[in-house]
Point group: C2
Chain length 312, copies 2
């Protein structure tokens, strides 16, 4: 059994690769700090990206949303004077509508997600990091932005000076998350190449999560979201620079120091391996850019092999 | 100024005809007894049919819904295990999503409807009969069905033994409805050819509504939804028979006796005019089947002419 922790697009791709390798033996714990209420609907962008990717229906061009999507509802929302800055496709809306209805009915996000995954025929288990609401807030100087305002509406155009995970102090890992991380058959924990600050940190900030990871006693492997000093996708490198961290695999290693046993980096960053290993983190170089489904599967295999080597 | 009272498809067509004649001088008071919550969304089928029809975007084939509609959200709802018996198109969903969000935010259905109508560029004013929830319940022997269960899910297949308008006792006409019916420039009230039992009766059942109509002191003209003993659309004739009323223009006249001054019937029913006039209701025959937009406008003109004749 392997537990992967993931945010959106990049994380979902590696989770998909792992699912292609080990199927039902995979549990993906997903960031819900990006969740928000929009048009009266509860939207869980990272959960949806992971679900759609593992179901094989993700839009390959964007990474998020559903392939072959149409936009008629949103166009009509705009015609009626509603907001259309957050792109909600017609098929995607079905997820939000059903999830919102069930949440209002008192169901747990974990159970709702399980139901959606089952309907989509997913092999792996997808778990929200918590059933308690956590909301990522981006601070930029004196201004505070709800995450999607920063990420989608403002297109990350303001400098990040701090990140807050509202509500996280009173959040708890669900019993399913706890069960996955204490499962005797657990052999590795993989931190997917999602944004460490925006996607993985909210998961790690849930009280008890780091302790569960530590007590699991299995290798913890991270895959760098940074290749050659740049983020594969999204604002990871930009945020690192804004927070005064060098956007490099070394910066990633510093960030995860004390938590991870191994870091997978791209061959272009091989010259930085020595410095990382000096931190007590083992390094493995591999092609970590995932362009095809086969890339995903190969990287997942590399992660599993790496974790097995770290365990022995 | 003319006030029309309407339910769904047939009523919306005449309302559209009236709007083509008098534009902003028309106020349509619409049944909300069919409203219901579905998939967590507040749906107002009759308001929507009237809005879409007056906006010129109604589906001409069905009478309800939007022309050129797509169904991708609902197909995905079904894929995810949700219900798809109530047909919600992608564009139509925008209306439900925005309305639901604004209702949850505490806005009145009247104001929300005004906003939607304004966005759609409607000339006439469309008012829900009340901002208080009224729910039509169809009784069939010992069974009670929420209206849409009876109408859509069961396709009217059970016999109606009684109709209840839940919540109506504590509903009030909105101040806009009251203002329209007490407007000094009001010249006529038109009961559109909607189902008298399912569409017009809920409006009339709102406490104070009949009194407002009576005190308006203007001609009240109804257009028969029955032609030659059959309903133009829907279960009006079936329900009349089930309730022990002969499905005929005479039955319609009996139903509205004491409320209306005139009844428009089709030429095929001209032989029944004498019996209706004996009830103290004036009769005018005209082509009341509306196939084209021009039919709508002509029938509306007939109604206005009829009302003017009744007033003099």
């Amino acid at each position: 059994m392997i537990v992967a922790m993931a945010g959106g697009v990049g994380g979902a791709k590696l989770a998909d690769g792992l699912a292609r390798c080990i199927g039902t033996e995979l549990t993906v714990i997903v960031n819900t700090g990006d969740d928000f209420e929009h048009l009266g609907l509860h939207i869980s962008p990272d959960l949806d990206t992971v679900m759609y990717t593992l179901a094989g229906i993700a839009n390959p061009a964007t990474g998020w949303g559903i392939a072959g999507e149409t936009w008629n509802t949103l166009e009509h929302v705009a015609r009626l004077g509603g907001p259309d800055w957050f792109k909600l496709g017609d098929r995607d809306l079905a997820t939000h509508i059903l999830r919102t209805q069930r949440l209002r009915g008192g169901e747990r996000l974990t159970d709702i997600t399980a139901g959606l995954c089952s309907a989509l025929g997913l092999p792996a288990r997808v778990l929200p990091m918590s059933d308690d609401p956590v909301r990522t807030i981006v601070q930029s100087g004196a201004d505070r932005y709800p995450f999607q305002d920063y990420f989608v509406r403002l297109k990350c155009a303001v400098p990040v000076t701090a990140l807050h995970f509202e509500g996280v102090a009173s959040a708890r890992p669900s019993r399913e998350v706890e069960a996955a991380l204490t499962d005797p058959s657990l052999t590795a924990i993989v931190l997917c190449p999602s944004n460490p600050y925006l996607s993985i940190d909210p998961i790690l900030a849930v009280p008890g999560m780091r302790l569960l990871i530590g007590k699991a006693g299995v290798p913890v492997v991270a895959v760098s979201p940074i290749i050659g000093g740049a983020a594969v996708k999204g604002p990871a490198a930009k945020i690192m620079a804004e927070l005064g961290v060098t956007p490099s695999v070394t910066g990633i290693a510093e960030h995860y120091r004390g938590l991870i046993d191994g870091l997978m980096i791209d061959a272009v960053d091989a010259d930085l391996a020595g410095g990382i290993e000096a931190m007590g983190i083992r390094v493995r170089t591999a092609p970590i850019l995932m362009r095809t489904n086969e890339d995903r599967r190969k990287l997942a295999e590399e992660c599993i092999t790496f974790a097995m080597a770290l365990a022995s």
